[in-house]
């Protein structure tokens, strides 16, 4: 185990799973090299500090306080070091009894009860270690739930044992056994629930980096300030109103959780707890109800963590989806561009070959010169295609140009002619008014290609002779044009229409189900919209803003 432990910058240690990250930072010349044994005294010191700072409102002068973040520190230590954490923890407990509380129970009982606590905490620690032997505890809902269950059950059982021990030895009045156990258990539980995630994040290099990245922004100050304000205003009324207004604290919590996920929540919850403790001390509002407040706080923390983790998970899925979409878009664009690239490449290699023969023949005159000139033009044409592909997928930038709708449609239907012909599909292009849009030609072609491919698939389901696809463009008011693609296929049912534009919903065996999603995204990026109409035949339409009126000298007419 020793070899698996690396000491990090702050004297805490990383487990083997963190080696990767820690190993990277080992190359960092700024990193001070700390002696191996340092984490142990550092742990004891920190533990004592926690103990001392949170030794508030004790019951019978014993270590029965409403908030014990120290076991959280201990458990994180245990998670990293395993059973080797037992001795330092035991020492820290004893030191706490001596220095903070002045040994209220006497040496023999203190030794016994501390040993009992170490066994109890150790059991929780081992249970957690077994469950989370690899990877993070706080990275999905299931793991969070398992952690919460282990912590809740563990602390309560531990409290029962510990208080029974104290009660048997007469340190606690016999009738108070239940209340004391509850208070101690709640104190530990709240301490663990509220502090452990944050401490866990802080001990690893990766966790610290992510925490900083997540919460190091002005917004954090915003929700913390709101939390403090709410706390301050609520607190004045708490004693009198039985926490009637405690729920207001959900506002800053949900703010933090929804914006910054688990990391923001961990900070928020910890700060909130500090605030509550401060308020309790400052207002001297100490009474038994404080424990109820703590319980509310623990629930608040758990709710926050679950929201935070859901937010994190959603964000992760969204990022993955975005990535996949980009890849798919790149794939579709690449297919569209293959044809465009092929022409100049063919011309280029052919000119090149011709030049080779010309040189072989000893030709050096105008023919050679003009062939080379052509080659330069053609490579420019190829480079343009590549540049646009790169631009689009690096920056998502569109290259807008004025395009005649008729030219666009002519270009795309040309590409489909062989396939349509093969399958006996009749393509009807309606009357084309001279309308121009300001659009990215490649992207618009991608949209049309997708829609035509879908239409083709739809009509293939009907017998030959009935296969018909109609393209039409009309001018709408408000400087817009509407392009419709109708096919003689079965059409879109209302159930399908509802899911049509969801990614990865495909009615085709070989489809990724991204075509329509991409198409819609592209059309919307052009300031238009794309939709399907429910009907007895397939109807897709999209609207694009017009680029203003154009003269009707379209090149399409010449072709």
């Amino acid at each position: 185990m020793e070899s698996g432990v690396l000491i990090t910058q702050y004297g805490m240690a990383c487990r083997t799973d963190e080696m990767h990250n820690a190993g990277q930072s080992e190359n960092n010349p700024m990193r001070p090299s700390l002696p191996r044994y340092l984490p142990y005294p550092a742990f004891v010191g920190l533990y004592l500090l926690f103990d001392w700072a949170t030794y508030i409102d004790p019951l019978y002068g014993l270590n029965i306080t409403p908030w014990n973040p120290d076991p959280a520190l201990g458990l994180v230590f245990w998670l990293i070091y395993g059973r080797k954490a037992a001795l330092p923890w035991f020492i820290a407990l004893l030191a706490g009894e001596c220095l903070v509380r002045g040994l209220p129970a006497g040496w023999p009982l203190t030794l016994l009860s501390s040993a009992w606590l170490i066994v109890g905490y150790g059991t929780i620690g081992e249970a957690l270690r077994r469950r989370f032997s690899s990877g993070d505890i706080f990275d999905n809902r299931r793991r969070l739930a398992i952690w919460a269950v282990i912590v809740l059950a563990g602390t309560m059982l531990n409290a029962l044992g510990y208080i029974s021990l104290l009660s048997l030895t007469g340190k606690i009045p016999p009738g108070e056994w239940g209340a004391a156990a509850l208070r101690f258990g709640i104190g530990d539980m709240v301490g663990l629930v509220v502090s452990m995630p944050l401490i866990w994040m802080l001990v690893s290099e990766r966790g610290r980096a992510r925490l900083k990245e997540t919460v190091w922004r002005w917004e954090t100050l915003g929700y913390l300030a709101l939390a403090m304000f709410v706390l301050w205003s609520v607190f004045g009324s708490i004693v009198r109103s039985d926490y009637k207004h405690f729920y207001f604290l959900f506002l800053p919590l949900i703010w933090a959780a929804s914006r910054q996920g688990l990391y923001g929540t961990a900070l928020m919850v910890f700060v909130l707890q500090l605030g509550i403790i401060t308020m309790v001390k400052w207002s001297h509002a100490v009474n038994l109800q404080f424990y109820e407040l703590q319980l509310l706080d623990a629930v608040l923390a758990l709710v926050g963590f679950f929201i935070g983790i859901v937010v994190d998970e959603l964000r992760k899925v969204a990022d993955e989806l975005k990535h996949t979409m980009r890849l798919a878009a790149a794939g579709e664009m690449a297919a569209a561009l293959a044809h465009e690239l092929n022409q100049p490449l063919t011309a280029l290699s052919t000119y090149g070959k011709a030049c080779e023969y010309l040189l072989e023949r000893g030709e050096s005159g105008d023919i050679l010169k003009s062939a080379i000139g052509h080659m330069i033009v053609e490579s420019g044409r190829a480079a343009e295609v590549v540049r646009r592909l790169r631009d689009f997928f690096r920056t998502g930038a569109m290259q807008l140009e004025i395009i005649e709708a008729s030219a666009l449609i002519a270009g795309i239907s040309r590409q489909f002619t062989p396939q349509f012909h093969e399958h006996g599909i009749e393509l009807v292009v309606g009357q084309m008014p001279a309308l121009a849009v300001n659009a990215d030609r490649l992207q618009m072609e991608l949209v049309l290609r997708n829609l035509l491919a879908n239409a083709q698939d739809a009509v293939l389901a009907v017998p030959r002779g009935l296969r018909r696809i109609e393209l039409s463009v009309e001018r709408l008011g408000g400087g817009r044009l509407r392009l419709s693609i109708e096919d003689s296929g079965a059409g879109i049912s209302s159930t399908l229409a509802a899911r049509l534009f969801e990614p990865f919903v495909s009615s085709k065996a070989s489809g990724l189900g991204l075509g329509l999603v991409l198409s819609r995204a592209i059309v919307e990026a052009h300031g238009g919209k794309l939709w399907a109409e429910v009907g007895n035949h397939g109807i897709f339409r999209f609207i694009l803003p017009l680029a203003g009126t154009t003269d009707s000298q379209g090149e399409y007419g010449e072709k």
Partner: protein
């Protein structure tokens, strides 16, 4: 370099590709003719054109496969080499079904292109030669008298002169005379060749 009466007819709607092909083939000593569309080619086409066709499959207006089909309908003898931007198997199959001589992917390997053109040329020459021989044989068959034709039909079924004679009601000697004359007229000296020519006689 190559037989000067053979021409490579290039049909491609991309001016750069067309021009480059024209240059390359021109430098290699081929005679070329270029067309921007299938319609243009059909309009200009003459039956006596010889050589081969280089057709891009994806063109505005009439696509390559349609042009190929139209030419087959017109009984054009020019072998067709189809060029395509993507190696689409279904398109290739269709092209070959319609008797394409070759199927090349863009951007092409120029040695393959030359080989394809040369093969198309020889295929065309072969077809043309066969047709010429056929036409010649048909002309010879026309020179036979009805009786000679009757004798020929029976000879090619493998019957002996003495079997044919009673069928036609003439003497064996007369059958022999007819047979010798018709073989002389058709320029054949054995029955096997006679059978081959007689098959042209519908």
């Amino acid at each position: 370099m190559v037989k000067s009466n053979l021409t490579v007819f290039i049909v491609d709607d991309d001016p750069a590709v067309r021009d480059a092909l024209g240059l390359l083939l021109g430098v290699r000593g081929y005679r070329t003719a270029m067309f921007a569309s299938g319609e243009d080619f059909l309009q200009g086409w003459r039956r006596e054109w010889a050589g081969c066709l280089l057709i891009d499959i994806r063109m505005s207006g009439m696509d390559g496969l349609v042009l190929q089909r139209r030419l087959t309908e017109l009984e054009c003898l020019l072998p067709v080499i189809i060029i395509t931007g993507h190696g689409d198997v279904t398109l290739a199959r269709q092209a070959f079904k319609a008797q394409a001589s070759d199927f090349l992917e863009k951007p092409f390997d120029h040695d393959k292109l030359m080989a394809a053109i040369d093969e198309a040329f020889s295929r065309e020459a072969e077809t043309r030669g066969r047709l010429q021989r056929q036409a010649h044989s048909l002309a010879l068959l026309d020179g036979l008298t009805p009786r000679e034709r009757e004798v020929m039909q029976l000879v090619v079924t493998g019957q002996h002169n003495r079997d044919i004679a009673p069928l036609l009601g003439i003497s064996v000697r007369t059958v022999e005379v007819h047979k010798a004359r018709l073989m002389d007229k058709l320029g054949v000296d054995n029955v096997a060749d006679l059978v081959r020519i007689s098959m042209l006689d519908a």
